[in-house]
């Protein structure tokens, strides 16, 4: 331990404080570590945690601009849960997240295995796969909107030319969601890929050699070595992507604004509409808290796993 005396003051009762003859328990000693951790905790508390708690309070109040809040119990939750637009947004979110994230996982896994088996210009190709990570949702929407523009989009025109069905995302809601899903996959595949590729590289080569000498074929190697050893990384990538895809806002907002007639809204867009368009802070807050709870639920498995791991590291 680098700063033995300072570090242990607050805890094990060695060092100066004990020398002064104080009792071991219920003693709070100052450690400089608190100072170093303060800026981060001030930011997270002030900008994320306290506002989130305030939202919880807000969700039990009826309030809008220039109107003082009154307690209404679970009214906001009931109003949201009985709003067909809310359920439409939930359904859309679940659909896009479930489809896009799982396709992402499959593509990411395929890419990771492909890279692990060796590719020409491997380093360059890695950067190529990473490239969309640098692109803003806004720019990505500009690109994909043009590519699929109903009148001039090159992909639309080519699809039409070859007689394939086109994506009429401007007026058919499900087509709009397909385009949103495509965009999401394009933007976030780099993340999923890197997680899985790193995990694949961590699998010891000897395992495959041993498997091969035992006469296993490629599929058996995949089934019995790659898949089980990659499972934890796949789970982490999935959970991360569930949690982050669940927040989906910009892509939908910039592509369809939730339209036509609020049919392509996702939960974030529903929240935005309630809060910032209809100034109904109560129902927006109730929606927000349902988002928080679902995110936390999605994460409990992950955090629990992490905790187990960090306890194993004595931390």
């Amino acid at each position: 331990m680098a700063f033995g005396s300072e570090a242990s003051v607050g805890h094990r009762g060695e060092g100066t404080a004990e020398a002064a003859g104080e009792t071991k328990r219920r003693r709070f000693a100052f450690s400089p570590a608190y100072l170093y951790a303060t800026p981060v905790h001030l930011l997270v508390l002030g900008i994320i945690v306290l506002p989130a708690i305030f939202v919880l309070w807000l969700s039990f109040e009826a309030s809008s601009f220039g109107q003082s809040a009154t307690f209404v119990g679970f009214d906001n939750y009931i109003r949201v849960l009985t709003d067909p637009y809310f359920w439409c947004s939930v359904w859309n979110t679940v659909l896009v997240v479930a489809v896009a994230v799982h396709i992402e996982l499959l593509l990411g896994l395929g890419l990771a295995l492909l890279f692990a088996s060796g590719l020409p210009l491997q380093r360059v190709m890695l950067v190529v796969v990473l490239a969309p990570y640098a692109i803003s949702e806004v720019t990505a929407v500009a690109m994909w909107r043009f590519l699929f523009d109903p009148d001039v989009g090159p992909i639309t025109l080519m699809l039409r030319y070859t007689g394939l069905p086109t994506l009429d995302w401007t007026f058919i809601p499900s087509h709009g969601l397909v385009l949103v899903g495509l965009l999401t996959i394009w933007l976030h595949l780099p993340f999923t890929f890197i997680i899985l590729y790193a995990a694949r590289l961590a699998v010891p080569k000897e395992l495959y050699e041993a498997g091969r000498t035992d006469g296993a074929n490629a599929f058996q190697l995949f089934r019995n070595i790659t898949l089980p050893l990659l499972a934890p990384a796949m789970l982490i990538a999935l959970l991360f992507r569930y949690i982050f895809a669940f927040r989906l806002f910009s892509e939908v907002w910039l592509l369809t604004q939730g339209g036509p007639a609020r049919t392509t809204e996702v939960v974030s867009v529903y929240l935005y509409q309630e809060g910032f368009r209809y100034n109904s802070f109560g129902t927006a807050a109730a929606t927000a808290w349902m988002m928080v709870v679902i995110s936390l639920l999605l994460a409990t498995g992950y955090v629990w796993r992490l905790r187990k791991e960090s306890l194993a590291n004595a931390f």
Binding site: A2, Y36, P39, I48, A134, V138, F246, M291
Partner: protein, 278 residues
């Protein structure tokens, strides 16, 4: 055997081609099209060879001065948010790595991880009136604080991982020489964890330069960022001027794309450590 190897080789070349098209076609398409004269943007199939022109950039300059203000704002905000996030994460990472057994500190790791789970749009609701009352609406500061905050927890955990790898013997030697903790952090640890700081920086730079939601809610004129101006071009009522939009997109995406390409090692290190460590 040979034909099998050939088939695998051909399959791999095909895969490489597919990856390049998937990743780079949309980006390349925008960048190339921004240099195409007038109607050639709409030529199908797209033309690869054409006489490049800067006409779209000229009209971008003339008709969208707000875009260039937006770039300046994005630059200020990205720089500020990155500096703040890296410094704060470094300090906290130092605390978590070097001080063990300090009351509350260990439990607060879970608190940091948990804070990452709260969707950003949730905090906009209560922050919006507060920011207004404080007169911080439409300022660089509010976006700097927001962008830095949403990455300090990941940043802290990354820095802790990187600082953990610096041998403690170095600290101990310095302590014997009478160095104070902060001196040790700056003089000994900082140079050794520069890759970690870069990894944190890549995350914040990419996020702050590209972010849309917070900018949309918290800025109007003065601090409007480049992505926000781009979104106005996309949804302009009298139809999208694709040439100008492509020129603007190119200007917005090239710097950060080059940055990510140059920093790809640190991005990979950050992504892998970030996902496994929290």
């Amino acid at each position: 055997m040979r034909s099998r190897r050939l088939a695998i080789g051909a399959g791999k070349m095909l895969a490489v081609a597919a990856i390049v098209v998937w990743s780079l076609f949309p980006i390349g398409f925008i960048v190339l099209s921004s240099f195409k004269p007038g109607r050639e943007i709409f030529a199908v199939p797209p033309e690869l060879f054409f006489e490049p022109t800067l006409e779209h950039y000229a009209s971008l300059w003339q008709r969208w001065p707000a875009f260039f203000d937006g770039l300046v704002n994005s630059l200020i905000i990205t720089t500020g948010a990155t500096a703040l996030a890296v410094m704060a994460s470094m300090l906290a990472g130092f605390a978590y790595s070097r001080y063990r057994g300090v009351r509350f500190l260990e439990g607060s790791v879970m608190f940091l991880i948990g804070s990452r789970l709260i969707p950003p749009i949730v905090v906009t609701l209560p922050l919006f009136p507060v920011v207004n009352r404080l007169g911080l609406n439409d300022t660089h500061l509010v976006l700097i604080l927001l962008y830095a905050t949403f990455f300090v927890s990941l940043g802290t955990l990354l820095m802790r991982t990187f600082i953990d790898q610096v041998p403690r013997e170095l600290d101990e030697a310095a302590v014997l020489d009478g160095a104070r903790p902060l001196t040790i952090l700056v003089k000994i640890i900082l140079p050794l964890v520069a890759p970690g700081m870069l990894a944190v920086a890549v995350f914040v730079v990419v996020f702050a330069w590209n972010e849309f939601l917070f900018a949309y809610i918290f800025t109007a004129n003065h601090a409007k960022t480049a992505p926000l101006v781009l979104s106005e071009m996309i949804s302009s009522i009298d139809g999208v001027d694709w040439g100008v939009l492509f020129a603007a997109s190119t200007v917005q995406l090239l710097p950060v794309l080059v940055f990510v390409v140059l920093m790809n090692r640190f991005l990979v290190a950050g992504l892998t450590a970030g996902a496994t460590k929290g």
